[in-house]
Homo-oligomer: 240 residues x 2
Amino acid sequence: MASKVRLYVDQPLGEGQTVRLDRDQAHYLFSVMRLGPGAVLTLFNGQDGEWDAEVALADKKGGALVCRTLTRPQGSPPDLWLMFAPVKKARTDFIVEKAVEMGAARIMPVLTDYTNAERVRGDRMAAHIREAAEQCGISYLPDVTEPEKLARVLDHWPDGRRLMFCDETRLGAATSLATEPRQPWAILIGPEGGFSGGERERLAGLPYALPVSLGPRILRADTAAVAALALWQAALGDWA
Amino acid sequence: MASKVRLYVDQPLGEGQTVRLDRDQAHYLFSVMRLGPGAVLTLFNGQDGEWDAEVALADKKGGALVCRTLTRPQGSPPDLWLMFAPVKKARTDFIVEKAVEMGAARIMPVLTDYTNAERVRGDRMAAHIREAAEQCGISYLPDVTEPEKLARVLDHWPDGRRLMFCDETRLGAATSLATEPRQPWAILIGPEGGFSGGERERLAGLPYALPVSLGPRILRADTAAVAALALWQAALGDWA
């Protein structure tokens, strides 16, 4: 099925509003997707809903679109954070892409005791988030935070937010999610080497934390992220 | 955490049994993993359980191991098939890797009306399955079947097997899995372009088929595969 091109823009959207394109956007629309004057595409900016817009000027160095019709009101994801320990670059890219598709509102790289702290590139993560949002049909961009130590994140944990942590040493707790309250949540995926003993002890003692098993096999971090997000969305999120 | 090397071998395992290595296995163990005589690793062959084995002879062209102790009895996955429409090569690799980690017993490429039928390489899939099995700690290898048309697979559907199909046009059925019977199942993930109208109609009319929603966002095929497998495992499989 040929579907309309979707583009995130960092500009106001509204009826008759002109949207200027930068060189990269123009290259994508006019050279890669081969749109010309009069072609209609979908725009969103994370605030003003989803708009049909028409190509008014196609130019290699820029160009302009004009907003025509609001096609969907502004959407927002469930209040869910995905915390993960950054791994190798390609896997981190996958985790970010998957978190967007699976409807996380905030993506938080956290450094754990066993994190092999390769540098996390914020610009690279932001580009992946934009692209995944364009592709999966949402009209918002999930936040992304700067990498922070897990201990520090827990030190400043907000009131009223639950934490589901995926504990590979635990069995058989997966189904208990259905009886949990609908409220702000976070999901924490451990690094490929697992949590340290100290981390596991601290997490197990937190009154707002719920350990959840992801079965008897060892999952890669990106697999674990999708699996955990699926269980949460089906029980407590916008799949339920 | 440094963990023991795990190796799949296509040879009998038993106490005192000698296992000859081919050139590729020898290269992996002695050059890549840098094991030497006396080193202990884990072997499995899909039939005889999991064994500790010792390097008896390390040689670039081959070498030999000797089985010492049975460390785990032979395991087997739940009776679950994963059917998917092959997509681009890298995504197909991911689907196969994920299916193994998530505990599918059989991996079945199926050709749908909208499948962009790039050639599926059986040898490549088999290598990915072996590698994923070594990595995720299982002692069996999931089957993989030759690509077949979806219509033909449905024409010859076995008695007593249910089919969960992931229908992007459907909302709100995710939680109903928990009340389904534990029996043989298959999961069907559509191609990125979705099922055709004819396919959707046929699937919806099958008495053994259950449509399940994977939420309001458009998921890539590999994301959908992990999400569907997670819901099934948590409700009806070996995570429950």
